[in-house]
């Protein structure tokens, strides 16, 4: 049976997906519009086996394990494994775009960890050539501040920011990972110039944070899926080095567009 391929590139890292179902490929083309690219040397490739029923009883928590260089990921709606060194993997899932989304987040968190980068629970946007990150847990205001963004701001995501390190500079890259806004970010990148931790309040104000507080908050909002010693150490190191180079502040804001006058 013919295999249908699609390459999804996020943050400059292409991941190749293969499926025997052309309708599923079409579904992915639609879901990842703006992040599809032609043939490329991908770091990871996956064969997708489509199931008629969920892989296992429903469980909302993603479980990721690493043994002997094999990453195994599972949730109620999918089971996947990948050889981290070779980059070849397999996904078993039903025909939906959400399972792939979770696998891609996990895979990109691994790719970034190798390079000193990370995925962060945050909205991000480019303004005047620099990228701003707005981090916080659910309800902190990521989607709200994204909705309030002025026309000159390029929204990279309202949910999961992609932080890539190149030399001494950290870049925020657009992602298709969306939150309540339910639309992909723009596929572009810019050097990160500031990290804000969001908080709703009765006025707009920016306050400084101690380095220890900033590190604690950054780690709390960083996505890492596996209780893997090597990975945890890399993430910790990456977070510390990021804060050595990027100022972190607390942004308290009212839900109106005036807050963006403080972000430029």
């Amino acid at each position: 049976m013919q295999s249908h391929e699609i390459t999804i590139e996020i943050g400059g890292h292409p991941v190749l997906l293969r499926t025997k179902d052309h309708r599923f490929r079409d579904l992915l083309v639609k879901r990842y519009a703006g992040f599809i690219r032609g043939k490329a040397n991908s770091s990871f490739d996956f064969e997708i086996d489509l199931l008629s029923a969920p892989a296992q009883p429903c469980d909302d928590d993603v479980c990721v394990e690493c043994t002997d260089g094999m990453w195994r990921m599972r949730r109620g709606d999918f089971v996947a494994e990948v050889d981290a060194a070779q980059g070849h993997g397999r996904i078993r899932q039903t025909a939906n775009p959400y399972s792939i989304d979770s696998v891609l987040r996990i895979v990109h968190s691994l790719i970034l960890a190798r390079e000193g980068g990370f995925l962060l629970h945050s909205a991000s946007a480019i303004r005047n050539g620099g990228a701003f990150l707005f981090s916080g847990i659910s309800g902190a205001g990521k989607t709200t501040i994204s909705r309030l963004a002025p026309p000159d701001a390029k929204l990279l995501t309202d949910e999961i920011s992609y932080i890539r390190r190149q030399g001494e500079t950290y870049y925020a890259c657009g992602t298709p990972f969306s939150g309540e806004l339910q639309r992909s970010g723009e596929n572009c990148s810019a050097p990160v110039c500031r990290l804000f931790f969001l908080q709703h309040g009765l006025e707009n104000k920016v306050e400084s944070l101690s380095q220890t507080d900033a590190l604690r908050r950054l780690l709390r909002n960083t996505l890492f899926f596996a209780e893997d010693e090597v990975l945890v150490k890399k993430i910790f190191q990456a977070a510390g080095e990021f804060l050595d180079r990027v100022p972190a502040q607390q942004l308290t804001f009212l839900p109106d567009s005036r807050v963006w006058s403080m972000i430029q």
């Binding site: 101690s210 380095q211 220890t212 090597v230 945890v232 910790f236 510390g240």
Partner: protein, 104 residues
């Protein structure tokens, strides 16, 4: 009570920031911020120096604290960190462990 020896686990990542040591367990991602006194004990935890000697030389000699309070606080501190696998405690000297990931 017999003297104890303490050593930093290899399964941690740590970083000194503004005079405070930030330590994270690589096993369960538990995160600790150590104050100055705890940092002094942490840095002296080489597996070879008895805890009583660390308290005498690194705590009582450097900070304004009475020996009995320092001893009790140190005991409590090392027991808490050992529960998270961050510090190793033994009745005998411990072999030097791999240096943790640490940045100044």
């Amino acid at each position: 009570m017999s003297d104890k020896y303490i050593a930093r686990s290899a399964a941690i990542a740590s970083r000194m920031l503004a005079g405070e040591m930030m330590v994270m367990s690589a096993v369960d991602s538990t995160f600790f911020t150590l104050n100055e006194v705890a940092t002094a004990i942490w840095q002296a935890a080489d597996g070879q120096t008895p805890l009583s000697q660390i308290v005498a030389e690194k705590v009582c000699a450097e900070f304004d604290v009475d020996p009995e309070t320092a001893r009790q606080d140190a005991q409590q501190f090392v027991e808490e960190l050992s529960r998270h696998g961050i510090l190793l405690i033994s009745d005998d000297p411990l072999d030097t462990v791999q240096s943790p990931t640490e940045a100044a």
